[in-house]
């Protein structure tokens, strides 16, 4: 068993970055994410593993440091909260176009604009539908515990390097700020330059003797070549959709209705389904772990098994419900309940909302 600690989500994520053998972290403080930068600065990871931690001058600088570091095949990451992630969208689009692996963490707060600093999930569209310009996708993981804040760091890097694609960990103020028990995984060594050269033939870390010059760019002025590049990206995205969907089920075996919720909302809804089942309501919970790729097939299978309705519970104003509707294709009722602007729904009000939407059936 790994080392057991009581940690905040943000701290667990920062410790996981050091243990995952990350080469460079570039970030800028913003509530409710600042503990990541704070922890990494206090921990002096360059003394532990040689990992570089740099407080950038802005979020725009951070994301472009990821572009540069990631292009050399190094494991690089940044973290921020909603307004800071908005500033990074141009860079993310470039990184996706140039197929550079990296990990971006969003500890979401209430918006739009400067919003507030309380937990929210209202960056869902931005995370899963693009965010920046052009046809691209981020692989998006949604942790719902402090344990997953730790575990998803190496997972996000594995996926990012496997597909040469930016991966996002989409958390929120609640998961970032709360403390839970976390079992830390054993430290993994950072890769040496030789290992990187051998493993990633695309990395721009010097022209090999007698080899081809390597170019990483998102620019191609020839529309046909750029179309080919886009074909390639789309094929890659289909492969990710085929292989990387992750989700968790609670009490779905005999469920007549299913609540769909991720991250903090999924924690609230775990309690809601307990309360509902005490009243004899057969309701289960499906928690998407990957928000993109979305567990569409799994939702559709529940429709085919006769589930009567789905309730999307979000800390946003009806964003994820669109993906549930796309999965269901009109074959079952899909309703929405949410709180937003930094308000966390209570387990009881979710049950109330469920009854209002479905109990007259």
């Amino acid at each position: 068993m790994g080392e057991l600690r009581l940690m905040k989500g943000n701290e667990a994520l920062a410790e996981a970055a050091i243990r995952a053998g990350v080469d460079g972290y570039f970030g800028y403080p913003i509530t409710p994410q600042s503990e990541v930068v704070e922890y990494l600065t206090a921990e002096k990871p360059h003394e532990r593993t040689g990992m570089v931690v740099l407080q950038a001058e802005s979020e725009v600088a951070s994301i472009n440091m990821l572009y540069g570091g990631g292009a050399t095949g190094k494991k690089v990451m940044t973290s921020s909260s909603s307004p800071g992630i908005s500033l990074m969208q141009e860079g993310l689009s470039y990184i996706a176009g140039a197929e550079i692996p990296c990990v971006v963490v969003n500890v979401v707060r209430g918006g739009p604009g400067l919003g507030d600093i309380q937990p929210a999930q209202s960056d869902y569209f931005q995370a899963v539908k693009g965010g920046g310009h052009g046809d691209y996708r981020l692989i998006v993981l949604a942790p719902s515990s402090v344990q997953e804040m730790s575990d998803f760091v190496p997972l996000a890097f594995d996926l990012a390097f496997k597909y040469r694609n930016p991966a996002m960990i989409m958390s929120d103020g609640l998961i970032g700020q709360m403390m839970e028990k976390v079992e830390l995984f054993d430290p993994m060594p950072r890769m040496t330059d030789d290992e990187i050269k051998e493993k990633y033939p695309w990395a721009t870390n010097g022209k090999p003797v007698g080899g081809e010059r390597r170019i990483i760019t998102s620019l191609d002025l020839d529309p046909h070549r750029l179309e080919d590049h886009n074909h390639h990206l789309q094929e890659k995205y289909r492969e990710v959709e085929e292989n990387e969907v992750r989700y968790e089920l609670f009490d779905c075996d005999d469920a007549e209705y299913i609540i769909v919720a991720y991250g903090s909302s999924a924690r609230v809804c775990q309690k809601s389904i307990q309360l509902a089942r005490e009243e004899g309501i057969k309701v289960g919970l499906l928690r998407p772990i990957t928000l993109w790729p979305y567990p569409k097939k799994q939702i559709r299978e529940f429709v085919d098994k006769g589930v009567k309705g789905f309730l999307s519970v979000e800390m946003s104003a009806g964003q994820m419900i669109e993906d549930i509707k796309l999965a269901v294709e009109g074959q079952a009722r899909v309703e929405y309940f949410g709180r937003y602007g930094g308000v966390i729904p209570s387990p009881e009000e979710v049950v109330e909302a469920f009854k209002n939407k479905f109990q007259e059936d």
């Binding site: 709360m178 403390m179 903090s264």
Partner: protein
């Protein structure tokens, strides 16, 4: 066993650290725990609260609206959290700084003179440990030895010499908790 607790008072009273030590004590005896602070533009003198859950089972929602126990250390928190105690639950408060004592008839109410006892012990910083002691007398959900282990884990090494003082404060709280009403 699942115990859902809100601890609420002024920033600077040690509300968040009391919660942290309680949570760490749970970890020491292999229980599941969650610690969810109110965070925000808060400062010394403003209000602060923390929700702590200690359970034998996997914890569902760390964010909850009703509690088995409320530990209340100022009037604003009394106004806000007295109504959130589950019927039959526990409300523990320090009467210093409370202008309107609790009025519920369906809950167990206890008080401890935390601020006064801390002043008598000559160190106002151990106020929160006195209150924690009072709570553990009413609800012995974690063993004292595990609290000491929790203190060791949550305090930086340079403060470990203060652990005996904290232990005395917990004992002081245990001895001085007063029953106001039981149901």
């Amino acid at each position: 066993m699942t115990e859902e607790i809100i601890i609420a008072g002024f920033g600077g009273q040690g509300v968040l650290s009391m919660g942290k030590i309680l949570a760490y004590s749970g970890v020491m005896q292999d229980q599941e725990v969650s610690w969810l602070p109110s965070y925000g533009p808060e400062m010394r003198g403003g209000t602060a609260n923390v929700t702590v859950i200690v359970s034998d089972e996997r914890i569902s929602s760390p964010s909850i609206t009703s509690f088995d126990t409320a530990i209340i250390l100022n009037q604003q928190s009394m106004d806000k959290f007295e109504p959130t105690v589950k019927p039959g639950g526990v409300l523990l408060y320090d009467p210093n700084g409370i202008s309107r004592p609790p009025e519920r008839k369906d809950i167990n109410i206890y008080k401890v003179q935390g601020a006064r006892l801390a002043a008598e012990m000559g160190n106002t910083k151990i106020f929160n440990m006195i209150v924690l002691g009072a709570y553990l007398k009413v609800k012995p959900i974690v063993k004292l030895e595990n609290v000491i282990q929790g203190l060791k884990k949550s305090l930086p090494e340079r403060y470990h010499k203060l652990i005996p003082l904290n232990e005395d404060a917990i004992t002081m709280g245990m001895k001085n908790v007063e029953v106001v009403q039981t149901v």
